[in-house]
Amino acid sequence: METEPQFFETNAAPTVVGQPMNRVDGWAKVTGHAKYSAEYNQLPGLVHAVLVTSPVAKGRVQRIESSAAQKQPGVLAIFTHENLPKLAKTPDAPADKAALNSPMGFMPMTSDQVHYAGQTVAVVVADTLERAQYAASLVKVIIAPEAPVSSYQDPKAQLYVPKSVKGMPGVTKRGDAQAAVQKAPMQLAATYTHATIHHNYMEPGATTAHWEAADRLTIYETTQGVSETQKTVSLMLGLATEQVRVITKYLGGGFGSKAWVWPHTVYAALIAKAVGRPVKLVLTRPQNFTSMGHREEQQQTLRLGATKEGKLLGIVYDKTATTSPWDDYAETNSRIIGMLYHLPAYEATYRLAKSNVMTSTATRAPGDMPGSFAIECSMDDLAAQLGLDPIQLRLLNYADIDSSTGHPWSSKSLKECYARGAELIGWNKRNPKAGATREGKLLVGMGMATGSYPVHNSQGNARVRLYADGRAVVQAGATDLGTGTYTIITQVAADSLGIPPENVRFELGDTVLPSTQWSGGSTAAGRVSSSVYLAVQEVWQKLIKLAVMDKKSPLYGAKSADVAAEKGRLQLKANPGKGEAFGEVMKRASLGDIEGSALGRYGSNYEAPQTTANADPNKKENAAEHSMHAFGAHFCEVHVDPELGTIRISKWVSVIGAGRILNPKTARSQVIGGSTMGIGAALMEQTVRDPHLARYTNASLADYHVPVNADIPEMTVEFIDEHDPYVNAMGVKGIGEISIVGVTAAVANAVFHATGRRLRDLPMTPNKVLAALREPA
């Protein structure tokens, strides 16, 4: 890491980095020119595939009556478990699941087994979408149903402690937390519950598979990771990696759901080969609810012990959640609870119930989002019980180092976030007494909560080609989820090259480009920007080498190490007046263009020099010297109608410290988006599964409520100017997930302040508000 140049060293005063530049893809999007993965309709002979899904949640397929469908005009083929071409590998075996990086240890339609409602049982292919849809409606799947387990709350559910959950042990112990809590002068215990929620991105899951030759497959996919999709699909189909090309030029939201290869993508590829035509498969909105994961329903119990001054002594934490029949998947909520404050003793246990539902999956800030609800509501309780200001209590427990690792932070601006957020919302005007502020019939409350999200390890390549005329093409196989990757990387490339951003074209979303990891876990901004910045440094090193050997250059004879590039000009560090523009060097060398490439690395695993050469992000060996997290605080004011049970947010403030902010405009939009999604989870979002039939009853965007504009007030978002020299060459931590962490708690804490009642069951719909207000305060 020491050998890696840092952006701040070569760009003391950046020109466009850090500026609120408009999205470079904005025009393409608003004019309809941006081509999404379901819009490659010009492929020769394109046909359409439509899924037939199981009405029941458990059973075995006995018979499939497809002759009526088969006879329909335009129908090319109908695939079921009986005739689906065989896969080279499926994720059904644990070892293969790991190799495939699969979100589920089960591949539907490879047997007669039905494990969840909405599971694919047949795929119909026809020449038009309408014909395929109609034929699909005629396919009759006869299933011998069995009684399903609908969730961890089902009386039939059998809870167990898994060996591990996403790499974390089923039980974690640090010190003797049980004893610490039992002996503590202040003890609190509370249980929090969360409904199932879905990502509900605008763009549905979609795949277009095109075999350009017998051994060359191109997939236009809705994915957050083209390289991961390439790897998984090639393994499952028995192809070499390079034989599969994956393209995702634009994505209409992902939120973790599109970070994986789901079964329908593989069907499209298999079927395209079988019918000898390019195949397009787009999930319907209801199918999106049962095809690409969700955030599981869960219950958290948090017991804390504290001194009578309010210092935490220990936390005993328990999470119970629904998982699928074949996986031990759950969000790892325990991470944030163990590191958010100074915490001497900690014990965390996961309990799962295998149920007839597909495996849940990463959903914006997996683990930290629901985990923050438990810890941040409990901290608010503790403050209220001790008569302390909620911010004061948090400062009392401020973690100067990471309690979970013992490492110092690479940077942390949480105190500044608290102070600025309090100032922006007018915290000093808040009546400390709960339930004491009214506006007409409405109860008014103000609440806040802390957020945090780790800097995950990741790495990836980028390539820069600089032309002698001062234009550049920059490439990395990243994806832009709609959050601004196209724009921020253009800014970084422009400043690094010393050329205006309109002279930069950044290409992404294609496996023919330099490979980089998925856009997920808030890693893309830091990783791709660092890779591009480092690739530019390689361009400069090549040019400096040319210049110092070129007799006609003013830099002739200088040592390479004494020359630096500054705003596109190569010059002596000691005497900046001596030098020349890069174009001059290239002209004399008859170079039309010059390329540089680099591997950008990100996260604490890459800190120790011995791991940098061949770092494996999945390696758990602890090479880190620092603990790397973004921190922030959300503040809000709510109005609660005590008779109608409605909660409306009237003010919102988020202040985030996440290293360098590459573009405050797109960053602000990210935080607004994350906060809005969190407000949805706090107040209205829930997918309801029938308790007996284990099938969703509201799988549509009319009946599953996400916030509308009228639910969201004007939001104030600020970023703390934070310089982090450790995270990566750009000093960027990422903001996609921290924007949602703490949001549900901030709302619940404001509702507590308004009403004097604590709502611990999300979402806080009017029925729950009315029930809480019937209880004594």
């Binding site: 009405p55 409606s137 107040l683 309801v688 029938d690 039939l693 799988a699 916030p707």
Partner: protein
């Protein structure tokens, strides 16, 4: 979606004749309900008779009251000056419903005939007595948090009409004009148009096969001019009511001379409460009176585990609506 024939009818006669021999054929107005049902294979009409060209338009004053053509769009009616001035509750019910895009498409006749949002009805994979008579009702012991508590039966607890307009129409004694295949018209009050589920939840209205709604007429009244529609929902717009109230009061010297009350979101049909009106009429316009009226309105409620809250919520909604109107 099934294959179907589509014909744009230029007269009522042509439209009704298209449905004559095909009982499962359907009229197509704004399509905001029908197309959803067709896309989910819940309705599979072999023939669509597009009635958008039919002359069932206009919002005009008649001796019976304000007559609104069934083919008028929700947005046009909701913003119409006569409606806003004479029937504020009707205007508000229209403008608080759906989204601007849907209101611009949906017709008045179609709105009156919209189908329940019960998740079991909307998904053909579930049993549902309304969709497949005799198949059962999983909502009874399942997800019924936004289903009805008044007028329900052991066969069905859906709020068959989930919308807003008919709640206001029921409150203000609106009368629907229906026209059958022979061109014969009849007039049916909105309060008698919908049928309770009883043993036949599949039969939702008194419409005969092929019969269509031509117009709705709302009598002019002092209590209609002083009216309001209050809607409580889980988000601020584009959501169906958990509970709603259309109320109108004629208050003179602090005493209520006439009152109209209907509830939405809680009844198996738009729920006119003559019990509440009885309590209100002749009583002082005070919170105590409103509270007593609300108690009367929910007297016959049959809530279940997950919609028990609706009793209190509907009462509070009604009280709040009455307070708002009394304060105007």
């Amino acid at each position: 979606m099934n294959d179907f024939s589509y014909t744009q009818a230029t007269s009522a006669k042509e439209a009704t004749s298209l449905l004559k021999d095909q009982p499962s054929a359907a009229y197509l107005a704004g399509g905001t309900t029908l197309l959803d049902l067709m896309k989910a294979n819940l309705a599979e009409p072999p023939q669509l008779a597009d009635i958008n060209l039919l002359p069932f338009k206009g919002i005009e004053q008649t001796s019976d009251g304000l007559r609104i053509g069934a083919m008028e769009r929700m947005s046009d009616v909701g913003e119409n000056a006569l409606v806003v001035q004479q029937y504020p509750a009707v205007s508000q019910a229209l403008l608080l419903a759906a989204s601007p895009q849907l209101r611009n498409m949906a017709s008045i006749g179609g709105n009156i005939l919209q189908r329940t949002r019960c998740g079991y009805f909307r998904d053909a994979a579930f049993p549902c007595n309304k969709r497949v008579p005799g198949s059962g009702c999983p909502a009874l012991e399942g997800d019924h948090h936004n289903l009805a508590i008044l007028g329900v039966s052991e066969r069905c607890i859906a709020n068959a009409y989930p919308g807003d307009l008919s709640v206001a129409l029921a409150a203000f004694d609106a009368v629907l004009t229906l026209e059958n295949q022979k061109g014969k018209q009849r007039r049916v009050p909105v309060t008698e148009f919908y049928l309770l589920p009883g043993k036949t939840p599949q039969k939702e209205t008194v419409l005969e096969p092929g019969e269509m709604i031509v117009a709705a007429t709302i009598p002019s009244a002092a209590h209609a001019r002083r009216s309001a529609y209050l809607k409580v929902r889980e988000r601020s717009s584009y959501a169906y009511a958990l509970a709603s109230a259309a109320v109108g009061l004629d208050v003179q010297g602090g005493t209520i001379r006439a009152a109209r009350v209907a509830l939405g979101g809680v009844g198996a049909q738009p729920w006119r409460s003559r019990e509440a009106e009885k309590v209100l009429t002749g009583a002082p316009a005070t919170e105590a009176t409103f509270r007593a009226a609300a108690t009367a309105a929910l007297q016959g409620a049959q809530p279940r585990e997950h919609n028990r809250y609706k009793v209190e919520l509907a009462q509070n909604t009604l009280v709040r609506a009455l307070q708002q109107v009394a304060a105007t």
